[in-house]
Structure formats: C-alpha cells, structure tokens
C-alpha cells in the first residue's frame, strides 16, 4: 500500500508539482500574511482554524493519503511541498503532527485502521497528535489500557494521538482526555501534554518498529521541509527590508559585507532545499539508503534554518529584535523544528550507522539515480 502510494509519487512530473506548489503558495501568501500571523500570535484571530478548513477544502490534507482513503496519493512529494509553503508563511496549525500520523498509518496500519482514520484526516474533519520526540517516552500498557504522560506536537483539540505503548504503537482517541497546552516560544505551533489513565486504544499497530520508523521519517521530512520554507522566506523578507532601509545615505543592501553574507545565506538555502529533495527522491524510489538522507536532511536543514534565521535577525539591526517585525517568528519556529523528532546529534549517529551497514554489504549509499 505504502509502495503503491509511493509509485504514484515517483511518477509525478515536476510541472505538476510546481503547479501544486504555486497554488498553495498563492493561497497562503494571501491568507497567512505577515499581518495575519502577527495578529494570530497576539491572539487577535483564529488563523489556525481558518487555514485548516481552507486546507481541507483544497484537499491539501490528503496529499499523502492514497485515493482509496479519500486522498490524492501524492506520496511524500505532496506533503513536503505543503510543509515547505506552510513554513514559508510561518502558518499556524497541526500540519506536521497530522500528516505524519497519517503517513505512519498509510504505511503500517491495517486496512481497518486506514479506513477509520485516513478519510477523516483527508477531509480535515480531525487532526492528530504525535509525540514531539517519538520514542523518548513510552506509555505503559496494563491489560487493554494505556497510561502515562506524553509531550506531543498537535492541537489541543486533536482527535487522537499516535503513540508507543509498551511493545506496540497505539491510536488513542482524546475526547475528554486530560490535555494541557504548553505555552511555547514558537506560537505558530502547539505542543500539548497528554495525560492518559488506563485509556482504551482505538487501534493497535502491531509492528512497532515499522510504525516508529514511518512516523520518524514523516516527521523528519516535514520539519526539514518546513525549515526550508521558513529559512527562504525570512531571507527574502530580510533582503527586501535591506533594500528599503537606508543608512549613511544608501540602502544597507548596498554594503558589501552584508551582500556577501546574503550570498552565503542564498547558497545555504539552495543546498538545504536540495538535501531535502534528495531525501524525498530516495524515499519515493524506496531506496534502502533513503533513511540516511532523511535523518541528515532533518539535522542539516533545521540547523541551517537556525543559522539563517539568526543571521536575518542580526541583518535587520535594531528592529530585528522587536516583536513587531517578522524575523523572530521564523527564528522561534526554526528553533522548535531543530529539537523536534530527535536530537540532531542522534540523527547523524543513526545516519552514520546506516551508512556503515549499507557500505559493509558492498552496496553504495551514494547513488542518485534509482
């Protein structure tokens, strides 16, 4: 099933994807403008909900979900494009958690489980929560019930959480569960603490390793893509500002030291985009080395985004340090992305181990073409 979804993706041509991207970008540029996002983080609108229904009505939430479950079956390409554009506008909403949970269910859920949850996600009826760092904490299982507290990525009104419990992974509905929203520096995403007391799972995914890896991969790609969009966008906004900001009788964009820094940022952006593209490409082709590039894409792209957004605050000068300008919103978003999924040090260690394993079998992990 996963394989089928992936083939579909593999066969998508660049033009289709570009058109998809432009469509999403156009909508988000208008709906999730700088003004709208500032108003949202100051609690003056409910941009997250508006965008969510918008996304639902436009089918964005079904990008990664096979047709027979109400999605568009775009494999990993579709969600990656969506996450990139969402990051570009620092758009609020539980996209990473919901689409990653969906991907894990697509790849490792039973048909019944898929039928139950995927259509409701694709339609935008529900959103999902997942552990902010899957595997860090495991729920306990006694009899049929699961208990414990999990720090999750997801909306306070998430319909269910996909989480490890004992030896398996479970789907637990959150209706009436004890859910606390954590106030975060990044106000464009929600992190919640879920406390479960002998809760009855709605579904059990029996292959924990497979589910865990599927979720980690989906989340890693999502945060990496989000970081690419965020980093590119804040750089564009910063350069635009530098062209209007005048000191010493000229736009500061004309100062060579700043131009060279901007050129280095542009180079970083191009490289990080390509790292993510490579990870998606290898994954779509179902190559054994794909995981190496997914882990590295997350580690490299999220750190690059922190570097870029940090420098953009600096390049703004005084106003970069104010709440009313954009850079800090992207910096905080980049900082959250950096620590999600798994520490980047651990991701690099995983990539190194897998590189060694593949190389020892005599195969190459460095092919580009399938």
């Amino acid at each position: 099933m996963a394989a089928k979804a992936i083939e579909t993706a593999g066969s998508l041509d660049q033009e289709t994807l570009d058109a998809l991207r432009e469509g999403i970008a156009a909508v988000l540029a208008e709906q999730s403008s700088s003004t709208a996002v500032h108003a949202f983080i100051d609690g003056k609108n409910s941009l997250d909900r508006e965008l969510w229904s918008q996304a639902a009505s436009l089918g964005w939430l079904g990008f990664g979900i096979p047709e027979q479950y109400g999605g568009l079956g775009l494999g990993t390409h579709g969600p990656a494009i969506l996450h990139t554009e969402i990051g570009r506008q620092a758009a609020p909403g539980p996209y990473i958690s919901t689409l990653s949970a969906a991907q894990a269910i697509v790849e490792t859920g039973t048909d019944a489980t898929r039928n139950t949850w995927l259509p409701r996600i694709a339609s935008g009826e529900i959103s999902a929560a997942v552990p902010a760092t899957p595997g860090a904490t495991v729920l306990t299982r006694s009899g049929t019930g699961v208990s414990g507290t999990l720090r999750c990525l997801g909306a306070r009104d998430a319909a269910f959480v996909l989480a490890p419990a004992g030896a398996a992974w479970v789907i637990v509905e959150l209706g009436g569960a004890d859910v606390n929203t954590m106030p975060m520096w990044d106000r464009t995403r929600e992190v919640i603490d879920i406390r479960l007391q002998n809760a009855q799972p709605a579904a059990v995914l029996e292959d924990p390793e497979a589910t865990s890896v599927a979720l980690l991969r989906a989340m890693a790609l999502a945060t990496a893509a989000d970081s690419c969009g965020a980093a590119r966008s804040v750089t564009e906004r910063t350069i635009a500002y530098m062209k209007t900001r005048e000191q010493f009788g000229q736009p500061i964009a004309g100062f060579q030291a700043l131009k060279h820094r901007a050129a280095d940022l542009a180079t970083k952006l191009t490289v990080m985009d390509e790292m993510v593209a490579h990870a998606i490409h290898r994954g779509a082709a179902d190559e054994p080395d794909a995981e190496i590039w997914v882990w590295l894409a997350k580690a490299e792209a999220t750190e690059a985004a922190v570097f870029v957004t940090t420098d953009c605050v600096q390049l703004h000068g005084g106003v970069g340090f104010t709440w009313d300008f954009d850079p800090h919103i992207f910096l905080k978003r980049a900082r959250l992305n950096e620590v999600l999924v798994m520490p980047n040090t651990a991701l690099r260690d995983r990539a190194a181990a897998m590189l060694a394993a593949i190389t020892r079998t005599g195969r190459s992990a460095l092919e580009l073409e399938p």
Partner: protein, 393 residues
C-alpha cells in the same frame, strides 16, 4: 564600621561588601522577578538602588566633589565581582543615570546643571537617552528631531527610539537638530529634557524576547528651557561623543563575571544530575571550548580596564574586539543551551530562577549584545578602519 571605611584594606573591603550583600539581598529575589510585572521590576530596581545608596554604593565611582566615593578601579572591580559572586541584582535600569549622564555632565555640564542634576541619581532619579531615531540608527548623525529656539526656550518635535527604561525616566539626554542646513555633524544640539514635560509621549517597544525594556519617544512641541542645553548650540555632536564614550568597562566586566558564575552553577548542576549532554563527547568538547574563550574574554576585560586607568590612554579598538568576541560567544553559549534543552527548552518562560533555566529567553536576549550599543557590523568597521588602518572608500 561601614563598607567605605574599609576601602583602604581591599580584602576587608571585599568582606564588608560580602557581609552586606548576604544580609540585604533577598534570597528569593529571582523567584520573585520571574513573575514580576514591569512595574514591580522597576520598583524592585529602585529599592535596590536605595539600599546601595544607604551604604554609599550607589555612585561609588563618582568623584567625591559630586557626592561619589571616588573609589579606584580596583575597588569598583571588587564591588562588581562581589555582586556577581553573590548573584545580587544589577542596577540595569540605572545605567544611563550612573554612567552616561555623569559621563556627559562632568566634562560638558555647567556648574548649575551639575548642582541640579547629579545629586538626584543617588536618590533614584532615572535618566534615559534620546539619541537614535527610526531612520537614524548606525548613522546617528543623520538624526532629524528638530529643536527651534523660541525666546528662552527650545521647541522640540520629532521621534526617538531604543530609549532604555524611558517609560519610567525622569530626565532624558536628548540630541536634536538645530541647524538643518549645516553639514550633518554640525547642526546638532544637546539638551536635558524633563520626561514629565507636556508633549512627551512614550510607547514601550515590545522585544522578541517578550520584554519591553526600551521605549519610543514621540515629542510634540515639547518646550525645553535654554539653560538645559549641554554645551553650545550646534555643538551637540562633540558632547554626544562624551556620552557614547562613557566608561562602561566595569558594566561589561560585571556581565562577564556573572556569566562565569552562571556557567559554573550550570555545569556543577549538570554533574550532580548526570546530565545527558555530558556523555556526548562532541557537546562536552564544545562546552570546554566555550570556557577557554570565556576566560580569554574575562582577561581582556580586565586588561581594557587597566588600560583606561593609565593617564593618557590611547583610544584602542580593544573594546570593539572584546564586544565582537564576548557577544558572539554569549550567543553561541545560549544557542548550545537551547540545543541541549530539547523540546522542554522551547516552553515559553521569560526569566528563570536558575542560570540558563530559560535558555530561549537567554538566547533571544543575546541579540541585545550583538545589536545594541553599536551593532557588531559597526564594530567590525571600527576594528578594520581604526585598528587595522584599512581604507574607508
């Protein structure tokens, strides 16, 4: 005997300060400030200033003739060091009052101005600075706030920005343009402005770290008596150099010493709790590298203080080099703390009771080091041009 009586015996002086701090500093002051409003914070700062005043440590660095204790650098360093060691509050909102105002009035104020304004500082009078404008940041001399003579007053209209604690200030060191036609450095005049005067409106600026330490000043037909002019009309740029050149070395020194104790407490706690990062060789290596650079910075800050004590100390670029080093190091240390704190470190908390307990707040705040007081970009120009003699083209 009081602290100042012990000044001729440095170790005794240190001990006297230490005893006083042990007695006067509320052990829970940080915990209280974590939840404090800006007003509570300011009230606390004023209280702290009053306490220092009682033992003669409000303006210990001022000459006796102006009500100070005329202490030597050695003493000031000892005070700063003891304050840092005791994790005593800093008199942060009084920086302009304690440093820049006297740094300007001593050399350029009239006797009348000194008599009138200096004594207030020890009593907690709060000063702010009206220098930068929305369109005049790094290029300060391009400022446009107008001052027009009207009888024995000047009428001020314009806008100022990045004015620390201006929301609570009593007086302001104000730079204005009196001659719009002169070359830009030549038409500037320097005033003392009463912040309570009609036409002065202050709006706090919200910072990326969630706090509001700066204000934006909107000045509409504010009338300043001519006798509040510092220096001559159109000679304000020269006077401003005194303000900008005010000796902040001791403050920077105290900041570095505080960071030393912070990082030491953090590390000790990591050892006690067996923090995970200690088991990651790479992170541990990064950490010790920070320490090596931190020690270098502390030594450099001492060196620059000694240099400034020498009579005709040449204006070296060492302060700029130190700023480049310590502010970026601070940023790297805070960034490291953010990384090892994981998702928990992303939970919103402005201040924290323990060092680096709110790594993101510290990280976001570190930009005030790299941006405020002359951006690091401006510092690089200074080092390259004045220090390395590279041409300005």
């Amino acid at each position: 005997m009081t602290i100042l009586d012990a000044q001729h015996d440095l170790p005794a002086f240190r001990l006297a300060i230490r005893d006083w701090l042990a007695e006067v500093v509320p052990p829970d002051w940080r915990a209280r400030m974590v939840r404090a409003s800006n007003e509570e914070y300011v009230a606390f700062q004023r209280w702290w200033m009053a306490e220092r005043s009682k033992v003669g440590l409000a303006i210990p660095h001022w000459p006796k003739e102006y009500g100070g204790a005329g202490l030597t650098l050695r003493h000031l360093v000892a005070i700063a060091d003891e304050m840092a060691r005791a994790d005593a509050p800093q008199a942060r909102i009084f920086t302009i009052s304690l440093i820049h105002m006297p740094g300007t009035l001593f050399p350029h104020g009239t006797e009348e101005q000194k008599r009138r304004y200096l004594p207030g500082v020890a009593k907690g009078e709060l000063w702010c600075q009206g220098f930068s404008e929305p369109n005049s940041g790094s290029d300060l001399a391009s400022l446009r706030t107008r001052a027009v003579r009207d009888g024995d007053h000047y009428v001020i209209n314009g806008q100022k920005i990045w004015s620390s604690s201006s929301m609570y200030a009593d007086n302001c060191l104000l730079l204005t343009r009196t001659d719009p036609n002169a070359q830009k450095h030549r038409g500037i005049t320097y005033f003392i402005m009463d912040m309570h005067a009609p036409g002065v409106e202050v709006r706090p600026i919200r910072q990326a770290n969630g706090r509001s330490e700066f204000g934006e000043l909107f000045l509409t037909d504010v009338r300043i008596p001519a006798e509040n002019m510092i220096g001559a009309e159109n000679n304000g740029w020269r006077v401003a150099q005194a303000t900008l050149g005010s000796e902040r070395g001791v403050i920077a020194f105290e900041g570095a010493e505080r960071q030393r104790y912070e990082i030491e407490v953090f590390y000790r706690k990591s050892l006690e709790t067996g923090a995970a990062w200690l088991r990651d060789t790479q992170l541990h290596r990064e950490f010790v590298s920070f320490l090596a650079e931190m020690q270098a910075g502390r030594r450099l800050l001492r060196r620059v203080l000694e240099e400034h004590e020498k009579p005709n100390a040449s204006a070296s670029v060492l302060p700029s080099i130190i700023k480049l080093s310590v502010t970026v190091l601070r940023q790297r240390i805070c960034s490291f703390m953010v990384r090892i704190a994981g998702v928990e470190g992303q939970e919103f908390a402005m201040l924290a009771e323990e060092p680096f307990g709110s790594p993101m707040f510290d990280f976001m705040s570190a930009f005030s080091g790299t941006i405020a007081g002359g951006t690091n970009e401006i510092q690089r120009n200074i080092v390259a041009e004045r220090g390395l003699g590279m041409p300005r083209v």
